[in-house]
């Protein structure tokens, strides 16, 4: 076989498969030019991001990506989902491989300041919790002295856990595990007494058990885990696009704009000026972002408002069955609070 021919294959492959992107252009322009949004997601977390049999990605985090794609490109399917692990997600974002990361990532000081990322908001308020089998009779995390604890690695979880047990002067046996699926396997087989990760993840995992009532989630929430999408430092305009798309989803729920009525509400200016500004029938908010007037309408059309997305992917009607809790609108006693659109 002609050996030199193989070199050609490499060249062709590299030319065909890689597009060297000059980073001088703003992220927004790059996305528009490419016609696709590169969005980093998890490799598989039930309810938050997982591919179906056709390879179509679905989930709560995925919906944020789709909303941004709809707002910017007008097509909620114009997204390339790039699965990332706890290890690869930040480099993928820093290197420009992805435009935004929506992979239940906790907003922390060092990630914001030291790793130089911009968290554009919070799409899920979470906290680290513990799940134990009911038959163990444990009612509080303070009773876990000496327990074997399964942890999902690559997150802030192991640090919180170490701090919690040290602060309470208890010992434990950490079992670090890469993926949720394996952690679940070990927990169910009794290879660990406790499974700890974000409370949402615990609920999602428990929902898939053959007998979900056999496990209890302990009342202690040992950390604050505000999860949200993030972008790189230094491109504020792109950060604004993602931030206000997320805010549009949150505001639209507050303003009772849903995917079903958004079409008719945006047809003509209505009585509520904020709705008008949001949907572009009044003012020029879209233009300020570098988008057109209907950006928010498309974002909402894509998967519905925040409440619809929540209900469809992780809400109480789904197998995951998460209650809104902290993630209710501020008007309902939750923490979701979008700055005003004006």
């Amino acid at each position: 076989m002609k050996k030199s021919a193989f070199l050609g294959a490499l060249t062709v492959a590299s030319i065909a498969a890689s597009a060297a992107v000059a980073q001088d252009a703003s992220t927004l322009d790059q996305v528009k030019e490419r016609g696709k949004l590169n969005c980093g997601v998890a490799t598989g977390v039930p309810g938050f991001a997982a591919p179906d049999a056709n390879g179509r990605w679905e989930g709560f985090d995925v919906s944020v990506c789709r909303a941004v794609a709809a707002a910017v490109l007008g097509d909620s399917d114009a997204v390339e989902f790039i699965p990332t692990t706890g290890k690869t997600r930040f480099t993928a974002l820093a290197s420009g491989e992805i435009d935004m990361l929506a992979r239940n990532t906790t907003w922390t000081f060092s990630r914001d300041v030291d790793l130089k990322f911009e968290f554009v908001g919070v799409n899920y308020y979470d906290g680290q919790g513990f799940m134990v089998p009911k038959e163990m009779g444990v009612t509080s995390a303070k009773e876990l002295d000496g327990a074997t604890v399964c942890i999902q690695t690559g997150t802030t979880t192991e640090l919180n856990l170490a701090d919690f047990f040290r602060a309470n002067d208890m010992s434990y046996e950490p079992v670090p595990i890469e993926t949720n699926a394996e952690a679940q396997q070990q927990y169910l087989a009794g290879a660990c007494d406790v499974y700890t990760t974000d409370a949402s993840g615990l609920a999602a995992t428990r929902s898939t058990f053959e007998d979900p009532s056999s496990s209890v989630i302990l009342p202690e929430i040992i950390s604050k885990e505000p999860l949200g999408p993030l972008v790189r430092h230094g491109d504020n305009n792109w950060g604004d696009v993602v931030r206000w798309t997320l805010n549009a989803l949150i505001s639209s729920e507050e303003l009772d704009i849903t995917s079903t009525n958004v079409g008719e509400m945006s047809a003509a200016a209505g009585d509520n000026p904020e709705i008008n500004r949001l949907l572009g029938t009044e003012g020029n908010l879209g233009e300020m972002l570098g988008l057109d007037a209907e950006w928010a309408k498309r974002a909402i059309m894509a998967n519905g408002n925040y409440g619809e997305i929540f209900a469809k992917t992780i809400g109480e009607a789904t197998p995951i069955g998460l209650a809104r809790g902290l993630n209710a609108q501020w008007t309902d006693g939750g923490l979701l609070y979008s700055p005003p659109f004006r």
Partner: protein, 496 residues
């Protein structure tokens, strides 16, 4: 009474051996129960086999092929029974094989015929190298048949006619090839019958067809890339004639690189605007499942072959600095685990490249796995070089060939041939190692199994997915390793 003899004068007829030493019983006595220890070993082995099968078989044979979720499987099997839930394989086998390659579900046509054709053609392309018992004509039959079937699959009037024509040609050549045996054919050729062109021509073209099939885009890009070699060759011929072969090689390489770096895309765009022929472009991040494993394995081995040859020659050379560089590279790569190289691919390679460069992750993985495979390839080829009898080198010297000519005409063809079994086992190794990419988040079969388990319907399924993946890897690797052993045996007789 005098003719009475105490010595038998004629042979007795041979009697049948005792029943205990022939047939099944005899075989068992000879091979299974030849002594106390052997009998114990046999019985222990039988018990072991029984226990393993008794544990596994009831689990495997479970009527859950049509289950659509884990709960449904549980219902089908009934509570209390532990049995496989094959519904997950039924639901996801296409994904495990092709990853996210466009299957028509998101609009557009089903593109999955392209990887299939690419790998079928790969088989055709390596046939003349690996399966020398297949005749030249049968090789062309294979090629025509693959192309014909592709035409039929793609359908449409053109596809149908072309496909039928190609299949017809294949049948015609195949019939002729089967109807004339080796001697008759040799006589025909002696008499001046035209031979079909050497199938190695297709092998040389294949490296340009495969990326086009897999990644799509305009056909002019691979053609332009191939033109680089043609240009380089002619540059070599002309410059070498005027200034000598060393200058020729350097000049040819420089001109070819200039062509690839600066002129290829312009040429491709120009030609594309004149005569647009293209396939739907598929980004490499759509690759997944077994297709990804095979792509990484094949590309890495193919690209590592030339690099490995250069490294092996460098390691054997008298030039101290060149040798030190090659040894350093080979030992470095062989000294670190592949996973650290994959970490480099996933986190560092972009940092090493000029600011603003952005390869996608699969390409970065391809680069690192290629480097990894090159080091092992270099050692394999060095083994081939070392196995070559000293006399071959001396004969080349005696003929007055210079270093490059000796390598090209005498040493390399033989060394590479000896190395083929080693190269095949290298390929098996790299192919198995591609599962490591799941650790950096690529969706190879193992990575996909995690993603599938994140689906509500299949949450918590382990054995079915691992078993299916293991089976596919086993079938692939086992047949390759058997083949490589066969080759080794054949080559050994050649050289003793």
């Amino acid at each position: 009474m005098s003719d009475m003899s105490y010595v038998r004068s004629e042979m007795l007829p041979e009697r049948a051996p005792p029943a205990s030493s022939v047939g099944l019983v005899g075989w068992m006595r000879a091979n299974l129960f030849s002594g106390a220890v052997n009998s114990i070993l046999t019985i222990a082995s039988l018990v072991l086999i029984y226990m393993v099968l008794a544990a596994i078989l009831p689990w495997i044979f479970s009527p859950t092929w049509n289950g659509t979720s884990q709960n449904e499987c549980r219902e089908i099997v009934g509570s209390g029974h532990h049995a496989a839930c094959w519904g997950v394989i039924n639901d996801r086998w296409e994904q495990l094989l092709f990853g996210f390659y466009p299957n028509g579900s998101e609009g557009g046509a089903d593109q999955r015929w392209r990887p299939i054709v690419a790998f079928a053609l790969l088989f055709v392309a390596v046939t003349p190298v690996l399966f020398s018992m297949i005749s030249r004509r049968m090789n062309w039959v294979l090629l025509l048949a693959v192309l014909g079937l592709t035409g039929l699959y793609l359908g449409g009037a053109v596809g149908l006619i072309l496909g039928l024509a190609l299949l017809g040609a294949a049948a015609f050549v195949g019939f002729k090839a089967l109807s004339t045996d080796k001697e008759a054919r040799a006589a025909e050729i002696e008499a001046g019958a035209k031979r079909l062109p050497n199938p190695l021509i297709f092998s040389a073209i294949y490296p340009f067809i495969a990326p086009w099939l897999l990644w799509g885009g305009t056909v002019w890009l691979p053609i332009a890339a191939a033109l680089g070699f043609v240009i380089g060759y002619y540059a070599f011929v002309f410059i070498a004639r005027a200034l000598g072969s060393l200058v020729g090689i350097i000049g040819a390489v420089v001109i070819a690189i200039v062509w690839w770096l600066f002129l290829t895309s312009g040429f491709a765009n120009l030609m594309d605007s004149i005569l647009p022929i293209s396939l739907e472009a598929v980004e490499s991040r759509k690759f997944g499942g077994f297709m990804l494993s095979i792509t990484i394995g094949v590309v890495a081995i193919a690209c590592s072959l030339p690099i490995g040859i250069v490294l092996a020659l460098g390691r054997q050379s008298d030039l101290m600095i060149v040798k030190a560089l090659c040894v350093g590279f080979i030992e470095f790569i062989r000294g670190v685990p592949l996973i650290t190289l994959l970490f480099v691919a996933s986190t560092l390679l972009n940092i090493f490249m000029p600011p603003g460069t952005n390869f996608d992750i699969i390409l970065r993985v391809l680069i690192m796995v290629t480097l990894f495979a090159s080091a092992y390839m270099a050692e394999t080829i060095r083994g081939g070089l070392a196995a070559l009898p000293r006399g071959q080198y001396e004969a080349a010297d005696a003929l007055g060939l210079d270093y490059w000519k000796a390598q090209r005409l005498i040493i390399m063809p033989q060394a590479l041939k000896i190395s083929i079994p080693g190269i095949v086992s290298n390929f098996i190794g790299v192919f198995k190692d591609t599962t490591l990419v799941s650790i950096i988040g690529l969706l190879d079969p193992l990575g996909l199994s995690n993603a599938i388990r994140a689906d509500q319907a299949w949450n918590g399924l382990v054995w079915e997915l691992y078993g299916f993946i293991a089976l596919l890897f086993f079938v692939f690797c086992f047949s390759m390793s058997r083949y490589s052993m066969y080759l080794e045996r054949r080559l050994r007789t050649d050289h003793r």
